[in-house]
């Protein structure tokens, strides 16, 4: 019984629900944007500012306007960002007679806020998007963004000409450009296990781990030999089924969310247009469930893992657990942290793709920027974007802060200045909407061997991303997809952590429920749309 119902009455259940989504984050599937990888190849000077001010000259900038940019993150409280923004705005004023407003959508209940801004028709100018984690195609379908085909060449000429046509093709919804992709920034967000090199060596594992059995051997060693260490102190937010599919099949992940774990995939790189299901086809799911049940029975994680809310990464840094799971960018910074916190730990990553060489390049629309449908100044907004993305001075101010205060350049690397006070001088802008390798400077907080180890390995096995132009129209199966999401959320975690009893029976029950939720209908619709996509790509 809710006594004071003010809130409860006003806010529908949806919001209450979303309120906690942020807390339950870390869902392996929703890869988060990463500000980590600063793997620029060179710091070649982009002679872009001249070009864009030329374009600005062509446009009418007589009226001073404010351009808002919605990004996700908590506004830094030390005023350093405002200082850098003021510098940026001096340049903005001078070049395009505009002022940039950085609109932070805080992590507290960010899903509600982000979606409300779009749903309520708020006149936002620029907004961060991500097709795989911000439901950007869904929002495009609902008419949240402006078509910018005609505006781009005139108002964002540098961006327009620097992005190749095939990348623009991946930014279109129904033939119209609705977003600007972050296509010029190197990052890898493929997932894998992180394990300690020193413990692996003790366990007699001298080669890099190349499958889940290797991880099992490693965990078993910890279980038997390390007192007070939980081999993998996991939380149930971590979904590894996608990783298993990645390791043990040639199936490709589709850009369609089915909730807690992927229900649909396509056959392989050679046949990327045939829909399959790692749950229904062959025994992928059963093998996975059986393996996880055995890990659970061996005590690799807590008995109450499904309710445990601890922080695996902190425990890893504290030497209290031996395994963590996330993507390559995270590994890049975590390795540096671990070298400091647990000297000699030699943290390693086993990317799931290693086992079968099944690796796709990252979709270029993992990050990007769109213009809001109700924007009042789309022209100036694009002009501002062109500067943010291509003007070296503005780019560095926005991404790194003020030189001498936030960073110094030493031997081509960004380092912290001598008098740097982490509290007073800390800086970040959370700009994930069009970072640019050309203007990036490598940072000392990212493991410097990343390019020579993992990146080099990936380059050998990677395949081009085949679904860049595929936009799944969910409308005909919205209900079924929602129901399927519910089912995966209900039964997925207990199967994934071996807490669902007999694996064979659990997987059967899971299939039955998925069928009831409309699995067949969604699969048929998906196949239909993929067939059309195939025509489009081949015809």
């Amino acid at each position: 019984m809710n006594k004071v119902k003010k809130l409860g009455a006003i806010v529908p259940v949806l919001t209450l629900a979303a309120g906690l989504a942020a807390c339950s984050g870390g869902n392996g599937k929703e890869a988060s944007p990463s500000a980590g990888g600063k793997s620029a190849e060179a710091t070649a000077k982009a002679s872009s500012s001249a070009a864009s001010s030329q374009a600005a000259g062509a446009a009418d900038t007589s009226k001073f306007v404010k351009v808002s940019y919605v990004i996700l993150g908590d506004k830094p409280k030390n005023g350093q960002f405002d200082a850098a923004l003021a510098e940026i705005n001096k340049l903005m004023k001078q070049k395009i007679n505009a002022e940039l407003e950085w609109k932070w959508v805080e992590w507290a209940d960010w899903q509600t806020k982000y979606n409300l801004l779009l749903a309520s028709g708020d006149p936002v100018d620029l907004i961060t998007i991500g097709t795989d984690w911000l439901d950007t195609w869904g929002n495009a379908q609902r008419g949240a963004f402006m078509n910018i085909d005609d505006l781009l060449p005139k108002y964002a000429p540098v961006t327009w000409s620097s992005i190749p046509q095939e990348d623009w093709a991946e930014s279109k919804y129904k033939g119209k450009i609705v977003l600007i992709p972050e296509n010029a920034y190197t990052q890898w967000v493929n997932h894998g296990f992180f394990y300690r090199g020193d413990w692996a060596k003790e366990a007699g594992i001298s080669e890099p781990v190349k499958d889940w059995d290797g991880i099992e051997q490693y965990l078993q060693y910890i279980k038997d030999n390390k007192k007070n260490v939980i081999p993998w102190d996991a939380t149930a937010g971590v979904s590894t089924f996608g990783g298993w599919v990645n390791s043990y099949t040639q199936e490709l992940e589709l850009p369609i969310s089915t909730g807690w774990l992927p229900v649909f995939a396509t056959k392989s790189v050679d046949d990327p247009y045939t829909v399959v299901s790692p749950i229904f086809d062959e025994d992928t799911m059963l093998n996975y469930a059986t393996k996880m049940k055995s890990w659970a029975d061996k005590g690799f994680w807590r008995e109450d893992v499904l309710n445990y809310k601890g922080d695996t990464r902190t425990l890893l840094k504290g030497g209290m657990t031996g395994l963590d799971q996330h993507h390559t960018q995270t590994f890049g910074t975590l390795r540096v942290d671990m070298d400091r916190e647990q000297p000699g730990s030699e943290l390693q990553m086993y990317p799931f793709a290693r086992t079968n060489g099944n690796l796709l390049e990252l979709s270029i629309t993992h990050g990007g920027t769109s213009v809001g449908a109700h924007s009042k100044n789309p022209e100036r907004a694009l002009m501002a974007y062109d500067l943010i993305r291509n003007d070296e001075q503005i780019y560095r101010l926005l991404n790194y802060g003020i030189e001498g205060v936030q960073y110094e350049i030493k031997d081509g690397k960004r380092v912290l200045p001598a008098g740097y006070d982490p509290k007073k001088n800390e800086f970040y802008s959370d700009f994930w909407g069009g970072r640019n390798d050309k203007l990036e400077i490598p940072s000392s907080t990212v493991w410097d061997q990343l390019p020579t180890t993992l990146y080099a390995e990936y380059d050998k096995i990677k395949h081009p991303y085949p679904y860049g132009q595929f936009v799944f129209d969910k409308t005909p199966v919205d209900t079924e997809l929602t129901a399927i999401s519910q089912v995966t959320g209900e039964m997925g975690p207990s199967i994934a952590f071996g807490k669902a009893g007999d694996p064979a029976k659990a997987v059967e029950a899971f299939k039955t429920k998925l069928k009831a939720a409309g699995y067949d209908k969604v699969k048929a619709e998906l196949q239909k749309q993929l067939d059309a996509y195939k025509q489009q790509m081949q015809g």
């Binding site: 009455a9 006003i10 806010v11 942020a22 984050g25 908590d74 309520s120 708020d122 922080d311 840094k317």
Partner: protein, 301 residues
Amino acid sequence: MSAPRTAIRVDGATLLVRTIGYGFIGAFALICLLPFLLVVGTSLTSESSIARHGFNLWPRVFSTFAYKIVFENPDLIIGSYWVTIGITVVGTAVGLFIVAMTGYALQRPDFHYRNRISFFIYFTTLFTGGLVPYFLLINQYLALKDNYLAVLLPGLLSPFLIIMMKSFVRSIPHAITESAKIDGAGDFTIFLRLILPMTTPALATIGLFIAIGYWNEWYNAMLFLSPDMKYRTLQLFLYGVVTSADFVKNSSAASNVDLRDLPLESMKMATAVVATGPVILLYPFVQRFFIKGITVGAVKG
């Protein structure tokens, strides 16, 4: 305070009731206190000790680091405190007055429209327009974005409190109103001069409820006060401290944020202590109004 009855001899049944009373209330109060001590204790424990040993009433490894983080920007937290206090005081005063006035009018048996208005008010607890229209209303039609009124106004009244007030005022005999009317007093005067002073316990209760509502408010603040405002409500500030850390640790979203030694669990506890503290002090103050004698009985003399 409750002197009149203590003089009467205490019979067996009364003694029994009192024994049960002391025992039951005492035990229940203790059960309520223990988890809170756990919260205080944990907030003073170092993060690694929590990870190893779980929560404890008494910190194994003492640390005030969590409070340091929460109070990292004392200016901000003090500002947020003032905002919350301001909104709470103004909102409670205004809200309480309107609630009391409406409650009184609605319980008047001679008020022709009382059932219709009661239903009009009650109906809003059942059906609501939903989040999108509500957001549009406040953000665009009322244009209260980045305005403290966006937090203050929606919290003023609640159907529940109005109906509660209505039922409280009912314990004052209608005859009081009647006779005052015969003396020529207007309805509003009767309410202001006669009824209000007689309903102190009710006002204290309802005021407390409104105040707590404002004190705990973060949702409207989250929706309508942007981070561009330097000071927002206390709970939103604290909620932000906890969720951002929570979110960030689970993703690499903001890997430039230094979270190496973030005391996550202890920080959650510390925020609870910081947010609750003042209210614990507030309650005994409110209790003073729950005094027998000011109410109906006294007037009758």
